[in-house]
């Protein structure tokens, strides 16, 4: 119960009026940047970073991390209502969240996402409190070789779980990996497929690609398919989830919490991979996998919980090792170092008020967020009452503003337009966009970890089978494939028997 007494000390820090205010500002601002497509937690935090130079270190990190986990709440809103991913970790929610909205269950989807985010966020903070040092050691064991095995396995498993035919999924994965190649070679900086554009030196902009593939292609498709397929605004009575929906959401929410917490330590892409992993797991465990892609409650509850559950564990590398594993925690690191606090193995003992104050504030912040977000559900849903003649241009404007706001680059708008046109044709022929985006996100790291591992081993591929981390991931891959194959086999037998 030592952790408990520390937590009380942390509450004393987090509950001072000014820190409570910073926490609220962070959560509020985070919700806003999360809802706006394109703007993600990173942009939201860097905008407020200079402001924190004047605060004390505890206040600074409380406010900035509020933006981080706050953005994970808002991210699902546009995914569900308009099929525009609010940020990368909400791509998968576009699938079943939007289908739920089409059935008039937008309110239920948003509520389930908000409650799932809360559960995931809280479980993740508790995990951070209890097992941080051990998880940090596990993280260190993941070298380049193990990272390659892990990411490739994730891509394979998530790909197989996609709703489209396996051949089509593989096409999209390869396409995503190819698109990830665009830009300067991450190791030698040699330009690849940049066609001489300096704007492509750092690769395609993820927001432009994702919003084009999902948002723009949806507008084009809705024009072709006419208006009867668009989301229906529910009446006030239909806003809350039904008893059946709550039942369907409860287990995925719990499982999503654990998946998210574990994946939070994956460097760089944990929050995104966790949503795909949760979706794949829920589909494999579901008694009615055919519902996935057509508005399955579990397909919203699991991933939306998982992406929030990564927020606690993503802090672990930073707080225990002083190493930011994702860009967001890199901003937190600089907010601390500006004040002369260098996180590392000694942070907990040297600056307990920062460590435990942060943990306490994350618990409080999650409560603030769920109170903040639930009443907004009815407000957001009312957007769907807009006549389609106004809604389509509105969605288009949101897409354009969202993409432009990321870097202020008109070039990215061109990328978005092209991605929209490409996405339209691909979706017309039944290709699923989500494996492409996952492959695009992972492509860079898969390539770099592969090359690094071989540089370390001087070209010997056996390195991918060595070490406890790589072997664990290989075992998990086999287990995941067995669950998926077993589930399919069991269902087909049941079908033929029934």
């Amino acid at each position: 119960m030592e952790a408990f007494s520390h937590l009380l000390g942390g509450l004393a820090v987090a509950l001072t009026p000014q820190n409570l205010l910073y926490c609220f500002i962070g959560c509020f601002w985070g919700s806003i940047v999360g809802v706006l497509p394109g703007l993600g937690p990173l942009a939201g935090m860097t905008l407020l970073l200079p402001l924190t130079f004047k605060l004390d270190p505890a206040g600074a990190i409380i406010m900035l991390s509020g933006i981080f986990y706050g953005a994970m709440y808002g991210g699902s809103t546009t995914s569900i209502l308009m099929r525009i991913p609010g940020e990368a970790a909400s791509v998968i929610t576009c699938i079943d969240g939007y289908e739920m909205a089409r059935k008039g269950r937008a309110g239920a989807a948003l509520t389930i996402a908000a409650v799932g985010s809360f559960v995931g966020g809280v479980i993740s903070v508790i995990g951070l409190m209890l097992v941080a040092p051990r998880l940090a050691q596990a993280m260190l064991a993941i070298g380049p070789a193990a990272e390659f095995v892990m990411l490739t396995s994730a891509l394979l498993v998530a790909g197989i779980a996609s709703s489209s035919a396996l051949s089509k999924t593989l096409v999209m994965i390869v396409l995503g990996l190819l698109l990830a190649m665009i830009g300067n070679d991450p190791l030698t900086a040699a330009p690849r497929f940049t066609l001489g554009f300096l704007q492509l030196a750092d690769g395609l902009n993820f927001a432009a690609l994702a919003i084009g593939l999902f948002g723009i292609s949806e507008i084009l498709l809705s024009l072709k398919l006419k208006q009867d397929e668009r989301p229906r605004a529910p009446s006030l009575r239909e806003l809350l989830p039904t008893r059946e929906e709550v039942k369907q959401a409860s287990m995925p929410t719990l499982r999503g919490s654990f998946i998210g917490f574990i994946f939070g330590v994956v460097p760089g892409v944990g929050h995104i991979v966790s949503t795909y992993a949760s979706y794949a797991l829920e589909k494999a465990l579901s008694k009615r996998p055919e519902e996935f892609g057509k508005g399955a409650v579990a397909g919203v509850a699991g991933p939306e919980t998982a992406n929030n559950a990564t927020t606690g564990s993503a802090m672990i590398p930073l707080l225990v090792l002083g190493i930011p594993a994702i860009p967001v925690t890199a901003v937190l690191l600089s907010a601390l170092t500006v004040h002369g606090v260098q996180p590392g193995p000694l942070l907990v003992s040297e600056h307990p008020q920062i460590f435990w104050g942060l943990i306490a504030s994350m618990l409080i912040g999650n409560v603030i967020l769920v109170i903040l977000n639930l009443p907004l559900v009815s407000l957001f849903v009312s957007i769907l009452r807009t006549p389609v003649g106004y809604l389509a241009p509105l969605v288009l404007i949101i897409c354009i503003v969202g993409v432009y706001s990321v870097k202020g680059s008109a070039f990215d708008l061109g990328v978005m337009a092209l991605a929209g046109a490409g996405g339209y044709f691909l979706r017309l022929y039944g290709y699923d966009m989500s494996p492409l985006l996952l492959a695009f996100v992972l492509g860079d790291r898969i390539e770099v970890s592969f090359r690094r591992a071989l540089m370390i081993s001087e070209g010997d591929p056996v390195i991918f089978l060595q070490g406890p981390a790589a072997q664990t991931f290989l075992f998990l891959l086999v287990a995941a494939l067995a669950i998926i194959a077993g589930g399919a086999f069991w269902r087909s037998r049941k079908k033929s028997a029934g």
């Binding site: 860097t46 380049p144 300067n184 900086a189 690191l333 600089s334 260098q342 193995p345 770099v448 370390i456």
Partner: protein, 321 residues
């Protein structure tokens, strides 16, 4: 027709009229400070803190614009293309100026920009695990020489200042240590602590907490002098290679063609702010050492470092892409 000609003539006359001494009116409007790095990193933080200290002196706003990408060359390219009127300045670390030109096609040379001043530096350091059989710089070098090509060290990226600086030393020692490029010092630290590479190579702040916790011992700095924060590590002076110093440093630059008197005003304003004890504290918190150089010295440093790193890049077979 006449009136049109007259208007044109008048316009030309006005445009050609001698501009009143710029330095006396500068700055009449906010100054843009291009930082070719993302927000939150050391370069960005120093730029913002320096700007904050200069603002009350010049009584104008300094707008920090982060133009990150392509190893800092994107923002630097933008700076040299700006009008040399003192309203667009750049706060740049040395890599886009002295390292990147050897591996990337850049559109600028030292003639495209004008150095105004520099604020100081931060050394790179090589660290080994606590079990490594060397307890000082001399023993470390002996190990490197005896095991050429066997050890690996993590660095900040192919052709980056850290790698070129380290290779500069290895080359003088006549030994080879295999370079494994990572995305930054944090990632290098993680792979070093996990035992995936033999040595940590990178800036000081990420590794110092682990030295204190007994998880790493730092042995050799790439600066000429020693560093108080790491008493066990030696600078290059101690092994007779002081001339091979390569550090991370930061300076203020303007597009070439900035009028002489204006350049002098800006140099003086920023140098005074950078030399204050307050700024020294700010730098120390991020592992930096205050060392204010004037415009002339900064410009010479760029040229000599560019030449020295060019030799290293060629010797280790880095090609320009």
């Amino acid at each position: 027709m006449i009136s049109k000609h007259f208007a044109r003539a008048l316009f030309c006359a006005l445009a050609a009229a001698p501009i009143p001494a710029l330095a006396q009116t500068w700055p009449a409007r906010p100054v843009t400070l291009i930082v070719p790095a993302p927000p939150g990193g050391g370069t960005d933080v120093f730029a913002r803190q320096l700007a904050e200290m200069v603002e009350p002196v010049i009584r104008q706003k300094i707008v920090v614009e982060n133009k990150a990408g392509a190893g800092g060359t994107l923002g630097t390219t933008q700076l040299v293309a700006a009008k040399p009127d003192g309203y667009t300045l750049g706060f740049i670390w040395n890599s886009p100026l002295t390292s990147s030109p050897h591996t990337l096609k850049v559109s600028y040379t030292p003639d495209s920009y004008r150095a105004l001043m520099s604020i100081g530096y931060s050394s790179y350091v090589l660290c080994a695990s606590p079990e490594f059989p060397a307890s000082n710089a001399a023993e470390f070098i002996a190990q490197l020489k005896a095991n050429s090509g066997k050890f690996t060290y993590g660095n900040d990226g192919v052709g980056g200042t850290m790698q070129l600086g380290a290779e500069r030393v290895f080359r003088k020692l006549g030994t080879r240590v295999r370079a494994i490029p990572f995305g930054g010092a944090g990632e290098t630290a993680k792979n070093f602590l996990g035992g995936h590479v033999n040595f940590y190579g990178g800036s000081l702040p990420p590794i110092i907490p682990h030295v204190k916790a007994g998880k790493a011992k730092c042995l050799l700095l790439t600066s000429a002098g020693d560093n108080e924060a790491l008493p066990a590590a030696k600078g290059l002076d101690a092994i007779g290679l002081g001339a091979e110093e390569t550090v991370l440093w930061w300076g203020l630059f303007a597009p070439a063609g900035l009028p002489e008197d204006l350049a002098a005003t800006i140099e003086k304003t920023f140098s005074e702010a950078a030399a204050t004890p307050k700024f020294r504290d700010a730098m120390e918190k991020l592992g930096g050492v205050q060392r204010v150089y004037d415009a002339k010295k900064t410009g010479e440093l760029v040229r000599s470092e560019l030449a020295a790193l060019g030799e290293v890049a060629e010797a280790i077979g880095l090609k320009k892409n």
